[in-house]
Symmetry: C2
Subunit: 407 residues, 2 copies
Amino acid sequence: MSDEHRDGIDLPDSALRGVRVLDLGQIYNGSYCGLLLAHLGADVIKVEPPTGESTRWRSANGASKPFLMLNSNKRGLALDLKQPAGRDILLRLAAHSDVLIENFAVGTMDRLGVGYDAIAKINSRLVYASGKGYSATGSKRDRPAMDLTVQADTGVLSSTGFPDGPPVKAGVAVADFMGGVHLAAAILAALYQRDRTGRGQFVEVGMQDAVVPTLASNLAGLLDGGGNVPERTGNRHGSLSMCPYNVYRVVDGWVAIFCMRDTHWAALCAVMGRPELATDDRYASQYARAQRMDDVDDLVGEWAARRRRDDCVAELAARGVPTAAVRHLAEVATDPDLFDRGILHRVTYPGVGETVVFGNPLTLSDSPTVMRRLAPRIGEHTTEVLTEVLDLPPDEIDKLRSSGAVV
Amino acid sequence: MSDEHRDGIDLPDSALRGVRVLDLGQIYNGSYCGLLLAHLGADVIKVEPPTGESTRWRSANGASKPFLMLNSNKRGLALDLKQPAGRDILLRLAAHSDVLIENFAVGTMDRLGVGYDAIAKINSRLVYASGKGYSATGSKRDRPAMDLTVQADTGVLSSTGFPDGPPVKAGVAVADFMGGVHLAAAILAALYQRDRTGRGQFVEVGMQDAVVPTLASNLAGLLDGGGNVPERTGNRHGSLSMCPYNVYRVVDGWVAIFCMRDTHWAALCAVMGRPELATDDRYASQYARAQRMDDVDDLVGEWAARRRRDDCVAELAARGVPTAAVRHLAEVATDPDLFDRGILHRVTYPGVGETVVFGNPLTLSDSPTVMRRLAPRIGEHTTEVLTEVLDLPPDEIDKLRSSGAVV
């Protein structure tokens, strides 16, 4: 039974209507994968241990902000996979599901008796999705991996920061989220293939592998640069071949400006009141400017230093120059545009109060994203799911609950 | 006709067998989206202007490394959409295709007469995918947007770097690639929905929207921190609530270490030869360590400073502590593991020589990734595609070519 019927709401059609997902995802990677499928209309059942997914406990109330952000539109089922009766429930649910997501350490699911082989035996149509730090087929499969360490391992750290400073992590969880969205893409591809073959399959994404493509410019600089391009270039272009490409200090903050084309440079020169620089041989071409990068950055920097951030951006954007304010997090977190378009939602969560959760970055004209529910409490829908999906009678559910196999 | 028949190679099944994609993608965002679909087995036709996609020209030979990295497994068709005859060819191809990808500035496709309305009229089954810097439904729709400026606008820059230093861009193209992979996920969801409805639809992903979820920890720090957490924390944890979480200098480089659990701390203490610290009240709990972050970082830093990078990682990883070397790009670019598993491929491109291109971070057990071809030259498959898909006679192709409508 799909969510929309159960809730009695007359929901529009959705891309994943009728698709049931067992989301054993944790922290960011697996949970974000499940969130995307939930926003696309799947019936996503978040399967947690009796104590709840660890991310809950970044706050003492078991409802940390990241947990709330990443688990909207999911139902909550809590079970103890270390008990045979708990494992049995998962296997029985798998028989009625289309997708299973897990991002435990390599080998954990097998040890619990719910690995791919066990699940595929029960339901050959199921897509079993495994999110890892490092692929289970690689030499680092047993390495514990977190966003920070994967960033270190894949060269993100080496590529971030200033040439004369230490390596710096990207301040956002690029490895976790690249892993999660790639895993969602792999699942969707496998579901599409199943429509033709009738069979599910095993899909896997390592965070390491998902991060590698983001290095395109850096790898090109390495391959082409003959060792002349520093590994990290601060806020300048990664191969130091384009200019202006930098972040400039203004009266009240910082502004990013990138003159990708010579026409952008001409527009910037006009705005700076220095139109003659656009045709000056020393600055007229991208190549020439890149040879005088310090000069050019000084010219732009001196102009910017006397201006206010938003004026600067408005003037340049009006002339088509790629530019943006370096916005503070607090500005992003309250950006009316992000709320109007449903990328962020302001919600009130019981016991927490008003907070902000993520909507759906995927816009599909025939699959509108509906916020059906907030992140579940631990075991909030255990009875509902066991009744509806497995048709378990109340006394059997009571027995499972009293033994601690479900919560 | 699908690739595998045309090439006469007995290819295994693939998730997107029989799916034809018109890839008007450019730079990283759209091109990466098309690359993922190509690696999943779709017949992806890269549609370029007669002068070639701009990314080619980051090298004087029209075969820049990033272009080669992002366009494997695609066929190449060059046409001039500003000529009525060129536009007509695109519309006719759209009638025989399943997906169209574009990431031009908002309004460009409409102005060329090949926007969503025009295409949907011709083929209601087509999924029309639009990659943008900012969503066409948002207030910034007309802003020129590049990876740097989107990072600035979404708070990635504010979140990256040290508290006493300037904002720093993530050194990798996180906005471009997050946009591209999300767009691929949107397309796959729409194809799956089409299997049920028989209809295509319009899908869109703004890079801005795709980046927002990566801020989960930072937003949580903002919402929970009451203004006490600095906007950027260098290589320390974003909310300064976990420790050790940092990058430490070693004899020959840097090492990332994250003690997520107290057991990790105990293991680190044992490796450091300081087992007593694991039970010392001042350091035993995550909370206690976070209160003495400078002390703890000094303790770990002094130990690390006397060790070699790879020894340090080996010792800690053996005990299950999340750790990794801060690897140089040159190490990533030559990592045997990445080549063995097909995440990177060493190829020889005519006129360029040996170089490195991207494989498929998505592993599907029933859709193995086959490297069928390298990135096309401009118009390499124009005749082949027009003959095979549109059944155009040679004289008509000649006429189109002599008028410059196709190349």
